[in-house]
Symmetry: C2
Subunit: 343 residues, 2 copies
DNA sequence: ATGAAAGCGCTAACAA
DNA sequence: TTGTTAGCGCTTTCAT
């Protein structure tokens, strides 16, 4: 299937007996043009159904007005919120976005970076895959001075701007809340150890424990690769453990929900026998039963801020020095943790 | 912030004392080249950190290898599944995707079409906004012979390929199931009347009723604009109605879930007093309580099929005639409707 | 097996 | 106020 012919400036010029530059100027609404000529050209363009060729412009001005976005997966509500924020913001500022998903694969992520760079995106917004522990591909972007920033799944090893939430504090709020509800033995269910958010949220967990004078124990930290199978397996292992926890803080909501399913299936009362809190505030968490206590993470706003900052950098509206944006999280107490009626 | 310099073929050519055409041929692995020259060039390119400029290629060959995608919203699980399928497929076949969201606005959708066309996408995949009742912008694409196809939210007024599910049949399955469970008065909760899926699913609803010898009544059809407020309002109106339904088929899961919330809040037993079924099979539906009976709609596969078909058209692998892909849906019976233990 | 040259559609410095 | 010209980075036909 071949595309139909597209009208070019050249054709408009010919029809009107003017030069292409004049057409270009008229269509750009340049002031140094006779209003009459401008009018004729604009009208002719409209009548010929002229459509600007952004590709040609991009090549000429060495700017594509396209932002590349790489996320681990498109179907997670959190990431699609991010993208939504990025897309709306970019669009408002005259940019389009090109999207890739790494599917949590390091190799795929590297390939994504490559194609987006080849496509001449003006900048990139990246959220790292679970597998990414080596940052050479990012270092290369950095060395080649291709503007990019990271969000949510970031690394501190690369000196670029980052947009995250106060992961440690959010986790602290959740765990503190569980302790305030009377939990004595709170477990932390964590994703892969080297994930930035796994670490940060653990910090908050430990801080809350220590504040309540509870000695931390590695036996209360449960690690999963975040697949449903593993989540289930680890939860069952926890239930079978000698010193069964009476409260759980899960690193992300989907994990918390998997845990909840197992607890319910095993006939445990939530929150009476075991309280539960997550992190993200996915839509599901509000409607599940019992409703899930969680920490809200403003995905859409993160996307907006990330995109605006990157575009500000591109437009030299802000200094080039990397900046860190840390968004606030808030605790959303719900029934999965409320042991006390007044809480 | 300015981007760093990018190496071009010209520079490689100069360094090696060959012509640009030779470099181009080497990098394309053209057979009519001395293997030795080819090797030298490829190695030089690597050592100079050469990155292909897809933009320049696109302009030259009049193909961007980019697909444009327009969806009503990015954050819905169904649409992000579609996009995921489209992205994976496109990527595998050497294409990138550019994404826009219409935010359910007709004006925005028209603007999206315009920018994507300006960006010289090779083809478009479109799912219509709720507001779209006028198809001139699509007709223009059609007349300008820009390949595009529609998915999920389609219109029959434009002769292009479409990817949908058997909406009517899926709805029929759901309603039949409710009737088999003993419901006597089944209501249909519908989105905006002129939406393709509203109409199709109503067809299925009516068919099931007639098969069970139940006279259809417009008073059992409840219309909402799908906002949570309106959903709630309409549900309350239904509960207050004289002849209260004992079963509800909701056009999409999010609507079903809003309805469920109101029913639970009003103290109604689901499914005993009122049974409920949705359509889409969102992840939430499986974990909510009671779990929601629904019709599964393969979003990812729809995206794959849509993208593959469009690319097949672009590559002349299939005839240009519009084709309709109707994917099968299956009933997913869950607790929100199971009145009989053996069902 | 390789090079020269034209050109994709546009912009912008320079000329007139 | 408008035109001429060169060129963005690449591909491809036509020579050699």
């Amino acid at each position: 299937m071949k595309k139909g012919h597209q009208v070019t400036m050249k054709e408009i010029a010919k029809k009107l007996g003017v030069s292409v530059s004049t057409v270009s100027r008229a269509l750009k609404d340049s002031p140094e043009l006779h209003p009459e000529t401008k009018k004729r050209i604009v009208e002719m363009a409209k009548s010929m159904n002229y459509q600007y060729n952004l590709l040609a412009q991009s090549l000429r001005i060495s700017k594509s007005k396209v932002l590349g976005v790489i996320v681990p997966e498109l179907t997670s509500h959190f990431f699609s919120s991010n993208i939504s924020g990025i897309q709306d913001t970019a669009y408002k500022r005259g940019y389009n976005i090109m999207i890739c998903q790494s599917n949590e694969s390091f190799e795929q992520e590297k390939a994504n970076v490559r194609t987006l760079v080849s496509s001449q995106v003006d900048g990139l917004l990246i959220s790292l895959s679970r597998e990414t522990k080596n940052y050479e591909h990012l270092m290369e972007l950095y060395n080649r001075e291709i503007p990019f920033i990271m969000f949510d799944r970031v690394t501190e090893d690369i000196p670029v701007s980052k947009v995250t939430v106060d992961d440690a504090h959010g986790a602290y709020l959740a765990v503190k809340h569980l302790l305030e509800q009377g939990c004595k033995k709170v477990a932390y269910f964590s994703g892969p150890e080297d994930l930035y958010i796994s670490k940060k949220r653990k910090e908050g967990y430990l801080k809350a424990l220590s504040e309540f004078g509870i000695p931390a124990s590695e036996s209360k930290v449960y690690m999963t690769d975040l697949t449903s199978e593993k989540n289930r397996e680890v939860t069952l292992a926890m239930l079978a453990s000698e010193d069964r926890p009476d409260g759980i803080f899960a690193m992300i909501d989907p994990l918390a929900i998997d845990i909840m399913m197992v607890l319910k299936e095993q006939g445990l009362k939530i929150p009476e026998e075991i309280a539960l809190a997550g992190f993200t505030n996915n839509p599901t968490s509000a409607v599940i039963e019992p409703s899930l206590t969680t920490v809200s993470q403003p995905g859409y706003e993160m996307g907006q801020i990330a995109a605006n900052h990157l575009l500000d950098q591109l437009d030299d509206l802000v200094p080039d020095e990397p900046q860190s944006f840390v968004l606030l999280t808030t605790l959303v107490p719900r029934n999965s943790s409320k042991k006390k009626p007044n809480a």
